[in-house]
Symmetry: C2
Subunit: 408 residues, 2 copies
Amino acid sequence: MSDTVTSVDGALRERARAVVPGGMYGHMDAGRFPLAFPQFYARAEGCRTWDVDGRGYLDYLCAFGPMVLGYQNPIVEQAAARQRSDGDCMSGPSARFVELAELFVDTVPAADWVKFAKNGTDATTTCLTIARAATGRRTVLAAAGTYHGAAPWCTPRTAGVIPEDRAHLRYFTYNDLDSVQRAVDEADGDVAAVIVTPFRHEIRAAQQAVDPDFARGLRALCTRIGAVLILDDVRAGMRLHVGGSWEPYGVRPDLSAWSKAIANGYPLAAITGVDALRDAAREVYITGSFWYGSVAMAAAIATIGEIRRIDAPAQIGRVGELLRAGLVEQAQRHGVGINHSGPPQMPLLTFAADPDFAIADAWTTECLRGGALFHPWHNGFLSTAHTESDIARTLEITDRAFEAVSRR
Amino acid sequence: MSDTVTSVDGALRERARAVVPGGMYGHMDAGRFPLAFPQFYARAEGCRTWDVDGRGYLDYLCAFGPMVLGYQNPIVEQAAARQRSDGDCMSGPSARFVELAELFVDTVPAADWVKFAKNGTDATTTCLTIARAATGRRTVLAAAGTYHGAAPWCTPRTAGVIPEDRAHLRYFTYNDLDSVQRAVDEADGDVAAVIVTPFRHEIRAAQQAVDPDFARGLRALCTRIGAVLILDDVRAGMRLHVGGSWEPYGVRPDLSAWSKAIANGYPLAAITGVDALRDAAREVYITGSFWYGSVAMAAAIATIGEIRRIDAPAQIGRVGELLRAGLVEQAQRHGVGINHSGPPQMPLLTFAADPDFAIADAWTTECLRGGALFHPWHNGFLSTAHTESDIARTLEITDRAFEAVSRR
């Protein structure tokens, strides 16, 4: 197994423990996953990943989201390489900055303008700040338990967080408009913004689609009380719909936070907004040393162009449906109770009567042994590099995994 | 000039104004500089930059710091390319993560461990959070007017910032230990941390070296009251001393924030700390979608290795001294009163009797026309790509600029 010291991975983990607190951190800390999970990777291409011990996997994490067109996508890599030969981080932006901003505004119906950053947390935090600047109010409403980033106002673990970091946050229940109205009433008119993910994708729980009436109700409520509706599309953005994940419901946010998939793995985030918030967005000072780097912007132009050209969300949705149908059939055949939740592009398989995720751990461990990388309790991601034959090969692996857990 | 619409730069600015609030933002917003400043750049190599209208400059901004070994440094680019062909943003880190962490601990005497991030602001914010987690206290002391990043707790423009974002910050005067002691007394025992830059490098003011007794006094004070001493080495780190900018004074911080120069332009930040803070650092949850990307880490390994191998701070210091000596001689000869402040690696030229920076604007504009890129009120940066002959060429340009402003 990967974490014995006789493996390359195990040896690296031991070295890491000496120089990094806990040996690893954040969402890529394999210490939080089943023991069989590799911590360190050697190579990635298309929809495949190889760990440092040379084992290959069909990768259903896609770097936890960024990889929407597959690792080493030639169109994206060529655009990045072309820009890199001219310059990346320079004493100012290149023309790519303008081209990408225009492309965002052309692609996203709710976007009249855009600002770029590096982290999803940069984008969500900036949305809050713009909303407060625009409204002169302080309170922000968020769904309880939702992940919006890892800054003190939102990080899921509160070590070092002080009460003031969250002083004017109030929480509602996702898909429960009454709970939002209660939070509004409690805030006594002081609601700067409501921030919400396009569907429920919390870890360690089945995912939950948004009730379109909830989305429309939030939109109407925000308009009525003069609050800013913020869509946190960091995780889902451009994988479900290139124009924004609530476009299918006809619900347009005032501000959107983007990151992960917009540059196919190159570090970039974006804040888009409507004209009414343009002045506030200009007043809010944000910046970063690498935010104007042109290579990530060239990669984003190529990525968004390709997502549009091939309708990546539809293509990923089709292979995702194949995977879903296969898994559901296999689970039934093996008599294993499952819940396959979330959109087909970002699925999560959970198991009935599995409160401590022991069955999920066993199933993902069997899949890893067979050569397929699934996460036991974080939603997965598919990409346009996942083909029908990849799904067929994956379903051979998952069939054996269901057989193994059915014997428990 | 660059901002007429007949220039490429001017046309890009006009397009940008339609899709970006204010057309640009942050420290690279050329709207804040003299009119002659280019906003958009086409190419960069070594110590040279070309704007989108084809004008070349000897670049004394170095992308505002990241470029410490020169643009397109072949050693860094080869290391990055090698890693890129294997994988960048994958479903976990590569072995580069461990190698870079070990290199940081080996290079920085005050570092027993390291965590990586993407922005300087990530690093400074995380330092505060770790200090609060470790001490169970809330108050953080910072020098009034110092830039520590662009999050709500520290951003220099306060649109959208609410009082709670800065509730437990107290301010002292740089180099004034008595003012620190007063802030400590006012905090009534509740001091989690003191955060400080290695020297005063605020914009629109002459830079000021740290008084070594101030640095040592801060160290002694923090140790005495059990507060965490945080060195914000984001801007200066590895350009003045590879082991940390206060190493020459024998003052070792408990935590350090790094970014800009550590990967020669690839987006990366780091938090280093002492063993006593290892547990708190493990408890504080931080992460980001691109934080485990291997290309920036490979670039950082190459950059830090090269900085050490050639003693980059000493080399940059030598050419910086040539520039400083030349500028001082020219100013005297032309009868122009100047203050050339800051370390030779990060100089700022300010002018006597120039409260609105009109002389600085005129001087930098003349330099731009001659082909040298200086900032009128933000410190500049030199790199190992700046040679003695580049300085000689630059001094020809600056001589004409002094002549021009002496005629005012």
